[in-house]
Subunit: 128 residues, 4 copies
Amino acid sequence: MLKAYPGDVGDIDQEKLAACIAACFECAQVCTACADACLAEDMVADLRACIRNNLDCADVCAATGAILSRQTAGDGNVVRTILEACAAACKACGDECAKHSDMHQHCEVCAEACRRCENACRELLAAL
Amino acid sequence: MLKAYPGDVGDIDQEKLAACIAACFECAQVCTACADACLAEDMVADLRACIRNNLDCADVCAATGAILSRQTAGDGNVVRTILEACAAACKACGDECAKHSDMHQHCEVCAEACRRCENACRELLAAL
Amino acid sequence: MLKAYPGDVGDIDQEKLAACIAACFECAQVCTACADACLAEDMVADLRACIRNNLDCADVCAATGAILSRQTAGDGNVVRTILEACAAACKACGDECAKHSDMHQHCEVCAEACRRCENACRELLAAL
Amino acid sequence: MLKAYPGDVGDIDQEKLAACIAACFECAQVCTACADACLAEDMVADLRACIRNNLDCADVCAATGAILSRQTAGDGNVVRTILEACAAACKACGDECAKHSDMHQHCEVCAEACRRCENACRELLAAL
C-alpha cells in the first residue's frame, strides 16, 4: 500500500516503515491470541501479568500500526511518542512471555513477535 | 497461534478460521491506508464515501480479527453476527473502492483485500 | 458533536443515535475494566467466560461507537449489521455478568452497562 | 468501576485516574466525529491535517483509555509512555483544531476535548 500512496511519503525509510507496520499488526494479533490462550490454561491464576501485558501490548500495537499506515499531514511528535510506547509495551510483554516460554508455546511465539515488533519500532525511531 | 492454543478449539474448521483472522487484520491495515491515501488525493471531495467506508471497514475488521483470535468460552451468536457485520462492511467498502480502481491503485488493492475478507467471512459463516 | 455536524444527518432519530453512541463508549470502558477486575479475582479460573465476553463486547462496542459517530456517506447495511452484532455481544456479556452480580460488584455494574447498550442498539435498530 | 476493583490499585491518585480514563474515551469519540464532520465540509481539501490528527488522536486515546482501565499487574513504563503519546496526540490535534475553531463548531468542541485530555494525561503523569 505504501507504493500506492499518491503523495510524497517524505524522507522516512520506506522499507523500515513497511516492516514496522507489518510487525505491529502481527504483534496485535499474536498478543490477543496469547491473552486468550493464557486464559485457557489451568494455571491461569499464575498468568495474570502475562494476560495484562498481552492486552496492553495488543492495544498499543493496533494504534501504532494504524498511525504508521497514514502518511498524510502527520505530526512527528505523535509518531515518535507512539513508537516509544509501542517499544515499551512490546518489551514488557516480551519479557513477561519469555519467562514461561518453556512451558507455553503460545508465550514463546508471542515473545518472538514482541521482540520483532520492539526492534522494528526502535529501528524506525532511529531512522526518523 | 491456533496450534499453540492449550484447549479444544471445537468443531470449527481451523484452516478457514486462520484464513479469516489473517484476512481481517490485512483488511484493517489496507483500509486504514486507503482512507489516508484517498485523503491525499487532489479529488478528495469526490472520495468521501470511499473514506467513510474505509474507516468503518477498518473498525469492523479489527474487532472481528480480535474476536476470532479468541477460542475460550465464546458466544456463537456474537461470532456469527460480527462475521455478518464484517462481510457487510467489506462488501460496502469493496464495492465503493471498485468504482475507482482504474484511477487509484490504492483503491484497487483495497477492493481486493475487501473481497478476500468478505469471502473469508462468508466461508467461515458457512462452516460454523 | 451531532449538532455540530455540517451536513444533513438524514432521517435518523438524533436523540436515539446520541444515546446509543454514549452507551457504546460507556460499555466499552466498563467491559474493559470488568475483564481486568475478573482477572484480579481469586476465582479467576471460574470467570473465564466472563472475561472472554467482556473482551469481545468491548471490541464490538468500540467499533460500533466509532461507526455511529460518523454521519458522512455511510452504508445502511453496515450500520444495521454492526448494531445487531453489538446487541448480541451486549446480551451475551450482560447475561454472563448477571450470573455473578451478587458476588462481584464489577459484574453488577457491567451487566447494567451491557443492558443499557443492548437496549440502545435495539431502539436505534427499530428506528432506522 | 475503579471502586469495584477487587485488588489494590496501588498508590495512584484514583480521582486523577478516573478523570483521565473519562477524558480519553470522550476525546476518542469527539475526534472520531470531528474527522467525519471535517470530511463533510465543502473545504475538506483544506482540512486534511485536521482529519489526520483526529484519526491518530482517536486511536491513541482509545488505547490509553483501555490501558488505564486496567489495574492488574501492569507495567509502569507502558503506562508512562502511552500517557506521553496521548498527551502528544491531544496537543497536536488540539492545536490543529484550534486553528479553525472560529469556522467550524466541531473543531471548537474537539479542541476543548483535546485540551481536557492532554491536561488529564499530564496531571496523571505528574502524579505517578
